[in-house]
């Protein structure tokens, strides 16, 4: 090996730094003795016949001996070293007698230990031309090397350098191996190294974890047998045999055969875990060749797909739960779209399989109902351009299910390449559509029903917004639902009291009451619209949502104008007839009163009974007619009251006086109990009428010799007047009807007791008009006790009077 040209010669710059760094690269300074090197120094000393031989390396300040024969010290200062000179040159540097050499005669190594007289050194030159040191021989007496000795020394020095190089290489190999090991150990993917025959040579820890095998269980075994399911291998073998037109064994060949296509082969496999489970992996197989291109084995890298498989499974499970089709739609500029992902639901929605649309959207478009196709297409283009969310309902011609309605929603995710990825969902809304259609039909039916009704219907929501006026109510009110607050309903929609002139207070409006939760029954009022006056009877109810909360209110109005008119005609007829009857009746009963009162002289005894009958019945007829007329006036609201504040007590006394005759005729006594100073605001005539009714009633039902008690008592702000008799009391079955017109406890009583059946009804009406209330106690065993209560004016007057002053 020829020494390389010394770089120092080519570079005028100081070569020493690069020489030093070359020396350091070998990492040999200060290492222990080694036999390999000692062999060379021994050999050099032997060949040259010197007592001393050294492998000397020169660093900045010293020469250090890697190997030495015949010398104790392991280093000496560089300044005084002979080797410094050797490394300046290319070949052997020889000093035959140091004492005669001007460069060395005063050298301490010459004058003192080890007493050098002879020196010969061959430089240790690296392949890149650096002289690291020398292989030198030393003697303590002068001499010279022969040619063969010099030659041997040079050859030995080259061997020393080769040893250096080997050392360096070995270390580099070790580093490489360590690096490889580290890479394998820390790789996340499972790595298997296979021998050419397919047996496992090596596995990394990831592989160990993934497949569960210890090294001793796996290494040396055929990988196809250890990890690959037999049926999968057979499947692949069949496919590959067909592809390559030759029989491929269902073994390791299944993994290597595909390499004929290219330098790598990648495929998903479901491998076997040691415990028997399946391990989904993406397996990458590549051949290992040495420098000479010879096949040394195979490298298999397995990416664990368990997580992906789980994700996939999870997606599949989720998708299966989603009613409809989950999809990812990839839209490329132009007219091209595909579905990289479509869930199994695509079968249900379009009658397609995911694979059919994986690369092409056309199959789906073909399933869209022809009438909807242009619309769907346009919507896709528009959404793609605007990059906005997509929402569309359209029909699908499903091969099995016929025409179905679907709803599609998707959100765009713009891609770097300008295409757009849409994530979305298509659901079957046929049911909803059908429900909607059914609902529409129902609503239409309701609407028609409402319009067909002869009732006016008005409704509002829970907030009091008017929501519904059917035709009739619109017609009656002259307008429909408008945003009118409940407080103004009466005013805006012309709602009046039955008297036709007094506007309803807002809390009297039936719809308002129903909105407050009240069930309104048979309320009569008047709807006025211009000149049109309509009497209606209304029922109102709150409306409740399925969860029980109030959703609003509805009122149904029935037109009773005609009924009212007929009632009025009836009333007028009764009034007219009664009025016309009254005058002749007055003369009849008056005449009979006079005759029976013997004003015209004695009555022949045989006429007495008949005259009495005639007289009594004429009185009864008069009373009936009076009551009828009163009732008529009350009903028509025409009975006027002449209110005066009166002391109650004198009124009671007066009533007893007026009815004294009647009581005497029935042999019943009156007793006035209690005494109050209460003042009441009443029409005295009407109060007398009520008292008279109650007293005569009590007398009628009293046993002969009985007592009717009239009492008054204060009750807080009221004064109560009671009329108690000792009669049979009021039968419970009759309680509900006591104050109704023409009600009598027993209709057979009427004749016997001589009542008109209107007295209590009139009394109730009169008392209520005077601000009071009327009722009865129901202790039937103690007789009947009717009572009425009137508000006390004495209280009201005194408080308000003081307040004013």
């Amino acid at each position: 090996m020829d020494p390389s040209p010394n770089p120092a010669k080519e570079h005028p710059a100081d070569p020493e730094p690069s020489r030093l760094s070359a020396l350091l690269r070998y990492e040999i300074l200060d290492t222990p003795d080694e036999q390999d090197f000692d062999d060379f120094t021994q050999l050099a000393a032997y060949i040259c016949g010197t007592p001393i031989a050294l492998i000397s390396l020169l660093d900045e300040h010293r020469q250090w001996f890697k190997s030495r024969v015949g010398l104790e010290v392991c280093e000496t200062p560089r300044k005084i070293s002979f080797c410094t000179h050797t490394i300046q040159g290319d070949g052997i540097f020889e000093v035959q007698d140091a004492l005669t050499d001007a460069r060395f005669h005063d050298n301490p190594l010459v004058l003192g230990a080890p007493g050098i007289r002879f020196y010969a050194g061959a430089p240790l030159t690296t392949p890149d031309g650096h002289n690291l040191g020398t292989l030198c021989v030393i003697d303590r007496r002068p001499r010279a090397l022969g040619q063969s000795q010099r030659d041997a020394l040079v050859r030995l020095s080259r061997q020393v350098i080769r040893l250096f190089e080997e050392r360096l290489l070995a270390r580099r190999h070790a580093e490489q191996a360590a690096l490889q090991q580290a890479i394998l150990d820390s790789a996340a993917s499972a790595v298997l190294v296979m021998n050419v025959d397919g047996t496992v040579a090596r596995q990394n820890p990831a592989a160990q974890r993934l497949f569960g095998y210890e090294d001793e269980e796996l290494l040396g075994r055929p990988v196809s047998e250890a990890l690959f399911p037999r049926d999968a291998l057979e499947n692949q073998a069949a496919l590959l045999s067909a592809e390559f037109h030759q029989s491929i064994e269902p073994g390791f060949a299944v993994l290597t055969a595909p390499l004929r296509r290219g330098p790598q082969y990648m495929r998903e496999w479901r491998l076997r875990h040691r415990q028997g489970g399946e391990v989904p992996v993406l397996l990458n197989v590549s051949p290992i060749h040495d420098e000479s291109g010879r096949l040394r084995g195979y490298l298999a890298i397995a990416h664990d797909l368990t997580f992906q498989a789980q994700l996939q499974l999870r997606l599949q499970q989720i998708a299966a739960q989603v009613p409809g089709m989950l999809f990812q739609f990839h839209w490329h500029k132009g007219d091209y779209g595909s579905f990289p992902y479509a869930s199994e639901g695509i079968e249900q929605i379009y009658g397609l399989q995911p694979e059919q649309v994986a690369n092409d959207m056309t199959p789906i478009l073909e399933k869209v109902h022809p009438d909807d196709r242009p619309r769907v297409s346009a919507a896709i283009h528009r959404a793609a351009e605007q990059n906005g969310a997509w929402h569309l309902e359209h029909r699908v011609l499903h091969p099995q299910r016929g025409v179905i309605w679907v709803e599609a929603r998707a959100t765009p995710v713009p891609q770097a390449d300008g295409s757009v990825l849409w994530n979305g969902l298509v659901t079957d809304i046929s049911g909803r559509k059908a429900q909607q259609a059914e609902l529409d039909k129902q609503q239409e039916m309701n609407r028609r029903l409402l319009e067909a009704l002869s009732e006016g219907v008005v409704a509002c929501d829970a907030q009091g917004n008017l929501t519904l006026f059917n035709d009739l109510s619109r017609q009656w009110h002259g307008q429909g639902a408008r945003p009118v607050p409940p407080e103004q309903w009466a005013y805006v929609y012309g709602l009046y009291q039955p008297d036709e002139v007094t506007l309803l207070a807002h809390d009297q409006v039936p719809l308002f009451r129903a909105l407050r939760g009240e069930h309104v029954r048979d309320v009569e009022f008047v709807v006025r619209n211009g000149d049109q006056v309509r009497h209606v009877q209304a029922n109102g109810n709150p409306l409740y949502a399925p969860d029980g909360t109030q959703a609003g209110a509805v009122v149904v109005m029935h037109d009773i104008t005609e009924r009212k008119r007929i009632e009025r005609i009836q009333r007028e007829f009764v009034a007219t007839v009664s009025h016309e009857l009254r005058t002749p009746l007055t003369s009849i009963s008056g005449s009979l009163a006079l005759v029976c009162g013997r004003v015209m002289g004695d009555i022949p005894p045989h006429l007495q009974e008949l005259l009495d009958i005639a007289y009594q019945n004429s009185l009864r007829l008069s009373a009936l007619i009076n009551d009828l007329l009163d009732m008529d006036k009350l009903s028509a609201g025409k009975l006027r009251f002449d209110f005066r504040v009166q002391a109650l007590q004198p009124q009671l006394e007066q009533a007893l006086r007026s009815n004294q005759g009647y009581a005497e005729r029935h042999q019943v006594g009156y007793r006035l109990g209690g005494h109050t100073d209460a003042l009441v605001r009443v029409d005295p005539l009407r109060l007398q009428q009520v008292l008279s009714n109650l007293l005569s009633n009590a007398v009628k039902y009293s046993p002969t010799g009985g007592v009717v008690e009239l009492t008054s008592e204060l009750r807080d702000r009221w004064v109560r007047v009671s009329v108690r008799d000792q009669g049979p009391g009021i039968a419970p079955a009759f309680h509900d009807r006591v104050f109704q017109k023409f009600a009598q406890a027993d209709s057979s009583d009427a004749r016997q007791k001589g009542g008109t059946g209107l007295g209590l009804a009139i009394s109730k009406e009169l008392i209520e008009r005077m601000g009071g209330r009327i009722g009865f106690d129901t202790h039937t065993e103690q007789g009947a006790c009717f009572w009425f209560e009137l508000p006390r004016s004495d209280l009201i007057e005194s408080t308000s009077g003081e307040g004013n002053k």
């Binding site: 009025h579 009254r582 005058t583 002749p584 009746l585 007055t586 003369s587 009963s589 008056g590 005449s591 009163a593 006079l594 009162g597 004003v599 015209m600 008069s622 009076n626 007329l629 006036k633 025409k638 006027r640 009251f641 002449d642 005759g661």
Partner: protein, 134 residues
């Protein structure tokens, strides 16, 4: 304080007129002049010089109120008690009659046996009030 004696009675319905007159004469023992119209009452009132005028409020032609108004020029209503007999009457009309000087408004129909006693009571009450000198 003189007792009630002479009553001018105006009633257009003959049957009622008869019944009333008999009641007043036979039961009450009064002197009664029965007239059928307001005009007749006006014509005969001064000559009859009644203590009391008993007027039907609803007379054909000249009604009770008008009759009373015109009577004022012919007899001294200050010492004559005026009592109306009426069927239906509203408060307004009632007030009008009182304004005209009616002592009492009695409702029809009435019990002829009780009527004289009522009229006597009204007459006596007028004396108690001191509105007449007697």
């Amino acid at each position: 304080m003189k007792p009630l004696q002479r009553i001018l009675h105006v009633e257009d319905v003959p049957a009622i007129q008869v019944v009333t007159r008999i009641a007043l004469e036979r039961v009450g023992g009064f002197q009664v002049l029965s007239c059928t119209t307001g005009q007749e009452a006006l014509d005969r009132a001064a000559a009859f010089d009644p203590d009391m005028v008993l007027l039907d409020a609803m007379l054909p032609g000249m009604d009770g109120a008008e009759t009373l108004r015109r009577l004022a020029g012919r007899i001294d209503l200050g010492r004559v008690a005026v009592v109306f007999l009426t069927g239906d009457i509203d408060a307004e009309r009632l007030e009008e009659l009182h304004q005209l000087g009616a002592r009492e408004v009695l409702s029809k129909p009435f019990d002829p046996m009780q009527l004289p006693a009522r009229l006597t009571a009204i007459w006596d009450a007028m004396d108690d009030d001191g509105t007449t000198e007697g």
